[in-house]
């Protein structure tokens, strides 16, 4: 069963062997950004989940990171 893992800690997920890793926003809110307006936040969430859906439709050979369009507001 393919699993798309959304997380901000992509390096850790990769190292632990997760084969489809999606870069989430930040640890306390991986699917979105509370600093954005509610519409922008939801649209970001959709982009991240969409990337997860793309990942489970993609053939991979080993741990692979899928990057959605995310802008970093802070570290």
């Amino acid at each position: 069963m393919p699993v798309g893992v959304i997380t901000a800690m992509t390096m850790l997920s990769k190292q632990l062997g997760a084969n489809r890793v999606v870069t989430g926003t930040k640890i306390p809110h991986p699917c979105g950004d509370p600093n954005l307006s509610p519409e922008a936040d939801k649209s970001l969430r959709r982009e991240i989940v969409n990337t997860a859906l793309k990942s489970i439709q993609t053939e991979v050979k080993g741990p692979t990171v899928f990057v959605p369009t995310v802008t970093y507001t802070t570290g």
Binding site: M1, G17, H29, P30, C31, R46, V49, L53, Q57
Partner: protein, 353 residues
């Protein structure tokens, strides 16, 4: 002082029964030492006595491991032995494997020290490391029997120390391959002092021993992708700690050992008033205000309505993930997988905090 009673285990070849054509012989017994056991006995001298040698065909052991082990345990019990030596097996794969299995089985049943020897790439080594048996020790040898004398020599040294009642020292001091479990100890110097010492050694080019070995992790097999998403049923799994109000299933802030699934059947979005957050490992204020950050239900429902995928499984799976023991999380993952499979789930969106 009475001599410590030792059992020796060999395959059909080293026991002198025959070669490959005799690899199917079942477990047999010979009095005293046989083959390489004779040299071992000489090296052990008066401290120990190989009272008997059990042997078994390499193929027989492979095909009937349980019967073979039971028979050997029986022999060890009847002959009242206090230590076991198996092999050395050098590069022989089936033999090495059998040696590792016999050591573990007899050691656990009768609570005694068991030692063996084989080449570091022998598949028996992996078995030995998997068992992590505190009383089983494997010594590295050459690939061929040309290293027999050396192998018997280090094995004898180790046995003699145990007979003398000395405590076992770490692998690099005694020569065995590590079983890779960690024991808590007190050293004579503080860790800070040892750290500075180690750095000075390293900078000066002097030898040093790292206290934590670098591990390699087993790869997870790749699952095939979903070919037609529009027909797929997807489930959400999360370690974010989003739970019903009041945490009815009593999840802890850390070291959880169970998982649960919660219904989102009639819901189009996750709202603050419907859910709590339990997790000791991150700042939960954002998740509490908007649990969609951990269970992205709002956008998943939209996509479900649009037909991007066929169906969202009406439950999400939760395991709050702070400081979860790896052994527990493996089990939990497996259980979740079986549950999802039983309910027709084809793919997973997992959100980790």
């Amino acid at each position: 002082m009475s001599r410590v009673r030792v059992l020796h285990y060999l395959n059909q070849y080293f026991a002198g029964i025959g070669g490959e054509e005799k690899a199917d012989v079942p477990v047999g017994l010979v009095e005293g030492a046989v083959g390489p056991g004779k040299r071992l006995q000489t090296l052990l001298g008066d401290s120990a006595q190989i009272v008997a040698t059990a042997y078994c065909g390499d193929n027989y052991f492979n095909d009937h491991p349980n019967e073979a082990q039971a028979a050997i345990i029986q022999i060890a019990r009847e002959r009242d032995v206090k230590m076991l030596v198996t092999g050395p097996a050098f590069a022989s794969g089936r033999y090495g494997f059998a040696c590792a299995e016999v050591c573990h089985a007899v050691s656990t049943s009768l609570d005694l020290y068991a030692i063996t020897g084989m080449h570091p790439e022998n598949p028996g080594v992996e078995r030995y490391k998997q068992y992590k048996n505190r009383k089983v020790f494997l010594f590295p040898t050459t690939e061929t029997v040309s290293g027999m004398e050396k192998a018997l020599s280090i094995m004898t040294q180790f046995l003699s120390k145990r007979i003398a009642g000395e405590t076992v020292k770490p692998p690099h001091e005694e020569g065995y391959l590590p079983r890779d479990f960690r024991i808590d100890e007190f050293k004579s110097q503080t860790s800070a002092v040892r750290a500075v010492n180690m750095l000075l050694d390293r900078l000066a080019g002097r030898p040093f021993f790292t206290e934590i070995p670098v591990e390699s992790l087993e790869p997870i097999p790749v699952a095939p992708p979903i070919l037609d998403l529009s027909k797929a049923c997807l489930a959400i799994v999360s370690t974010s700690g989003v739970v019903p109000p009041g945490n009815p299933d009593g999840f802890r802030g850390y070291q959880n050992t169970k998982w649960k699934k919660y219904s989102v059947d009639k819901l189009d979005s996750m709202s603050e008033r419907d859910w709590d957050v339990v997790h000791g490992g991150y700042n939960i204020q954002f998740m509490k205000k908007n649990p969609n950050y951990g269970i992205p239900l709002d956008v998943c429902r939209e996509m479900e309505k649009e037909g991007v995928f066929a169906r969202l499984y009406p439950y999400y799976y939760m395991f709050p993930g702070a400081r979860g023991l790896i052994s527990e999380t493996h089990r939990i993952g497996r259980e979740m997988y079986l549950d999802m499979k039983a309910h027709g789930v084809d793919g997973v969106i997992q959100v980790d905090t």
